[in-house]
């Protein structure tokens, strides 16, 4: 089930209503059943893959805790769990890519092979496998008690608001909350609704309208001039941000309706002054996952320079591959890693400020923000391109065709939506929409609701754009 569908609009109120009507001891069951329905709305049989990873990791957690005093056994269970989870990921996400490349390699050696597989990627696989892995690693490290209740553990992996596109939750946050008894509070409903409304605006009004132009131009590069393609690159930067941010905001709001607080995934990433800062503000749950479970175990930054460069590149390349099984994603990850290394090395980037409040930039900072945005935008082309040929075509058209081709005509409404979003991103740079609304006068607040509701209903794109991150 996708958030911007009529099915979800009907589904969510029913689930929330049942959640508050049922006694606490039955809520997990209802939420689990609802999550199954939510997931099976796509392709029912894929739930079996989820079941396999859930059972393995659930058992591994208990066994690791049971053998807490026998490090070798404990480690064996950790390895079994991680390898089996990665195998699932490998088969369903990467096997097509591997076999296709093997075929090409053999062809270049003069051998004809037909190894290519055509396995369909189950939606949200990368997200829930990573969430599952974070649980077993936390249990292994002793930071998290193994969950004995199979239902609660399953719900932790399958909790529907964040099941298919994250945020990738840690057990310390979500699993704990699932056990807590949630009382009905108007505040939660109000905040949840605000977040959902804002999320719908960002996804359906901003991202989807931009997507129409991006698809048109990237699909017909030969028809457009460089200015149009450059404009489209910027549009894509905002499309992917709004698409993912919108989804995450709806996820946050949906969970909030039932009193659950799930992690923020974005903090105005396009206001970052460096690539390092960008990664502290973009897809935070994934960045911190790689930081905690890959970068730091590799030695982090407390190693020699060469090793540190290696660590950074490994993490970014893995991040690229996590997004998709294609060379363009790998290149995208590598480019980000390389730039991160260069920035750090030249000490030209400002020190990252992590989750510290962001202040409005002065002129120098503004230039840095623009520089980071331009670089990120150029890198997004690798992310969007279907293959290297397409990537090359986009760059060639963007920088060599200023005289020929058509100039795309963008409807004024789209500039207005984009402008409104940029304004909101600046206003919300240190906060979240639900919190920002708190201290506004009632009339202004309701005026904002009315405008947002009107735009979501009456100005949203009618094209069907699935969430971009669904494919991961």
């Amino acid at each position: 089930m996708v958030f911007n569908s009529i099915a979800f609009v009907v589904f969510l109120p029913i689930v929330v209503l049942l959640f508050y009507l049922l006694p606490h001891k039955w809520r997990w069951l209802m939420l689990l059943a609802a999550s199954c329905v939510f997931y099976m709305w796509f392709v029912p049989k894929y739930i079996l893959i989820l079941l396999v990873t859930i059972v393995i990791d659930y058992a591994a957690g208990i066994l690791m805790e049971h053998y807490a005093d026998q490090p070798r056994k404990k480690k064996t269970f950790l390895i079994i769990s991680i390898v089996s989870t990665l195998m699932v990921l490998m088969v369903f996400k990467y096997l097509n890519f591997i076999t296709e490349n093997l075929d090409q390699l053999c062809a270049s050696l003069g051998m004809e092979t037909h190894l290519m597989t055509h396995i369909i990627l189950p939606i949200g696989l990368s997200f829930h496998t990573f969430q599952s892995m974070s649980y077993v690693i936390e249990v292994y490290r002793g930071h998290q008690k193994a969950e004995r209740h199979f239902g609660y553990y399953s719900l932790y992996v399958m909790f529907f608001p964040q099941l298919v596109t994250g945020p990738i939750e840690r057990p310390g946050n979500l699993l704990r909350q699932l056990h807590e008894k949630k009382e009905f509070r108007y505040e939660n409903i109000s905040k949840g609704m605000r977040l959902i409304l804002f999320g719908f605006f960002v996804k359906m009004v901003v991202a989807d309208h931009l997507g129409e132009y991006v698809d048109e131009v990237y699909g017909h590069l030969d028809e457009y001039n460089s200015w149009t393609v450059l404009c489209c690159m910027v549009f894509y930067s905002f499309q992917i941000y709004c698409d993912f941010f919108g989804y995450s905001t709806i996820a946050l709001g949906s969970a909030k309706l039932m009193g659950f607080d799930i992690s923020d995934n974005f903090k105005s990433p396009y206001l970052s002054k460096s690539i390092a800062e960008f990664w502290h503000r973009w897809h935070i749950s994934l960045s911190t996952w790689f930081r905690d479970y890959v970068y730091i175990p590799l030695g982090g930054s407390r190693v020699k320079y060469g090793r540190w460069v290696f660590n950074i590149l490994v993490v970014f390349v893995l991040s690229g591959i996590w997004h998709g099984a294609a060379w363009t994603f790998l290149l995208w990850g590598f480019a980000h890693g390389l730039l991160h290394v260069v920035e750090k090395t030249l000490r030209k980037a400002l020190p990252t400020r992590g989750h510290a409040p962001l202040t409005l930039p002065g002129f120098g900072n503004a230039l840095r923000v623009v520089k980071t945005f331009v670089l990120v935008t150029l890198f997004w082309v690798m992310f969007r391109a279907t293959d290297f040929e397409h990537l090359k075509a986009i760059f060639v058209t963007a920088f060599t065709n200023f005289g020929g081709g058509e100039q795309m005509s963008v409807k004024p409404g789209v500039w207005i939506y984009l402008g409104l979003f940029i304004l909101s991103d600046i206003l919300l740079r240190n906060t979240r929409f639900d919190k920002w609304c708190d201290d506004k006068p009632l009339v202004l607040r309701w005026l904002i609701y009315a405008v947002l509701a009107f735009m979501v209903i009456c100005c949203s794109s009618v094209c069907n754009f699935p969430f971009i991150y669904f494919q991961f």
Partner: protein
């Protein structure tokens, strides 16, 4: 809780205000943008049309090299020069789309009569679950009887079936596999079985080699037309809704059942498929022909193979002549509503390659010969390879001994007769049935100075024939050889 209730009331008030704002300033623009069929309906009022023709691509398609691009509705309009006739034509539309088009014709319009295209194919799963359904159904969301804001909300949240081509195809396959034919002694259980049977036995060329193109086309005919219409068919419900709507609005309703390429269906697949054509046609004629205020024009078998543009697919796209034949037939029905306005424009001039001898004749012992088509040697073009003959026949009993005769006269006045038995094709008594022949134009045909084509009844009992139709096939259509007969039993037994 009280606070929540107050907020709910505030939300409702807000929605009412938003609905008013949207209806007043935005809705019409959205309708034109996202549901453009409504513009067609509005056009009707602007043009003050009294007769409206609703159709899909069958109305406005024409051959690549055709000079005359006029639609069926235009040709029909020629018969009623004093009446303004308009058309609402939208590609791939069907009864559900027509319903919404009609619903949005303003009550103030001058419309009196509505002609709705009834396309037999549209009742089959291949069309009902076509990938075109997604955009078509999307168009209809804003046209529902709900507050405009609610409709726009449903459009924004994709309250229409969004499916990939593969998902739509899966529905089609399911019907082909599971819908069983409810016909006594019918040799096929399901469309899928039948398709497999055709695929297994198929077609061969003159050299005995498998003709895969022809086999695929035969399979396609099966997949397109091998279904049985019943009361649960979604299109039947849509047509029923149209009937109700037209009654409510006081319009004369004419369902124009479009011609299908029955010649090719008969040639490629044979009697079983013709039986389904007949059954489905009977169903529609019985259901709607007997309804008060509804007239069904049955064009199903009126257009011959040569007049179909798409020879390698199933469509209702006709060359000019085909469009004219349907228009002529439709105009005859409309004449009942407008007897004083009807004028024959004499537009139905046949090409030299097509001869149509209408009217009904009874052939008995006293008058055993039908109307005769007489051709001279110079009228047979060198680029013709085949001649297709079709006519309707009704026999008193099942023992008819009628033949279709090709009488050739040479330069010396000697004649030879090739005869083709009709009773191999027609066994039913008391009902109109089709007999079709595809005959090669061989050297004797070409050398003859004069050729006569006619039906000769040798039987004791009388037979009636009507609509003798002779079409000469151009050379670009390759000659065909039918494979040996096949039965589903053979398939089941793995033979």
């Amino acid at each position: 809780m009280k606070k929540l209730l107050i907020r709910i009331v505030m939300v409702l008030v807000m929605l009412v205000v938003l609905n008013w704002v949207y209806s007043k300033w935005f809705f019409e623009k959205d309708l034109r943008k996202h549901s453009d069929i409504v513009e067609l309906s509005w056009q009707v009022v602007d043009d003050s049309c009294r007769i409206i023709y609703l159709g899909e691509s069958s109305n406005n398609n024409y051959g690549e090299k055709e000079v005359n691009h006029r639609k069926i509705s235009d040709f029909t309009s020629d018969y009623f020069p004093t009446i303004k006739m308009g058309d609402l034509t939208k590609e791939a539309s069907h009864a559900q789309t027509y319903y919404y088009m009609l619903k949005h014709i303003p009550k103030s319009s001058a419309v009196e009569t509505v002609v709705v295209t009834m396309n037999l194919r549209s009742f089959g799963p291949l069309w009902i679950y076509s990938k075109l359904e997604t955009p078509l159904r999307k168009q209809l969301v804003l046209l529902e009887d709900r507050p405009p804001l609610v409709n726009r909300f449903l459009l924004a949240f994709k309250a229409y079936p969004i499916k990939t081509e593969e998902e739509w195809n899966e529905f089609v396959f399911e019907h082909w596999r599971n819908d069983t034919f409810n016909i006594p002694d019918f040799p096929w259980r399901t469309t899928a079985d039948w398709d497999y049977g055709m695929y297994s036995y198929g077609w061969y060329d003159f050299h005995g080699q498998r003709d895969w193109d022809l086999t695929a086309l035969a399979c396609h005919y099966i997949k397109t037309y091998a279904f049985q219409i019943d009361d649960d068919n979604p299109r039947v419900k849509n047509f029923d809704a149209i009937v109700d709507l037209c009654r409510e609005r006081g319009w004369n309703l004419v369902f124009n059942l479009m011609a299908e390429n029955v010649d090719k269906a008969n040639e490629l697949v044979g009697k079983d498929l013709m039986k389904l054509f007949r059954l489905n046609c009977d169903y529609l004629l019985k259901r709607y022909g007997n309804m008060e205020g509804v007239t069904v024009v049955n064009n199903l078998s009126l257009v011959r193979d040569v007049n179909f543009i798409d020879q390698d697919w199933t469509t209702e796209h006709y060359y000019e002549e085909g469009r004219r034949i349907i228009a002529d037939h439709l105009a005859l029905t409309l004449r009942d509503f407008y007897p004083n306005d009807y004028q024959n424009p004499d537009s139905l001039k046949m090409d030299i390659g097509h001869y149509f001898l209408g009217g009904t004749m009874a052939l008995d012992r006293q008058n055993p010969y039908s109307m005769t088509l007489v051709l001279t040697a110079d009228s047979i073009r060198p680029d013709w390879d085949m001649v297709n003959v079709a006519f309707e026949i009704k026999q008193a009993d099942g023992l008819n001994n009628a033949i279709f005769a090709v009488e050739k006269h040479d330069a010396q006045g000697e004649k030879s007769i090739d005869s083709y038995a009709v009773n191999l094709q027609v066994q039913k008594s008391g009902v109109w049935d089709f007999a079709t022949f595809a005959l090669p134009i061989d050297s004797t045909f070409r050398m003859a100075q004069k050729i006569k084509l006619y039906v000769h009844n040798f039987s004791e009992s009388a037979v009636q024939i009507r609509n003798l139709d002779v079409s000469f096939r151009p050379a670009y259509l390759k000659p065909r050889v039918k494979a040996k007969s096949y039965k589903s039993d053979d398939v089941d037994n793995g033979k």
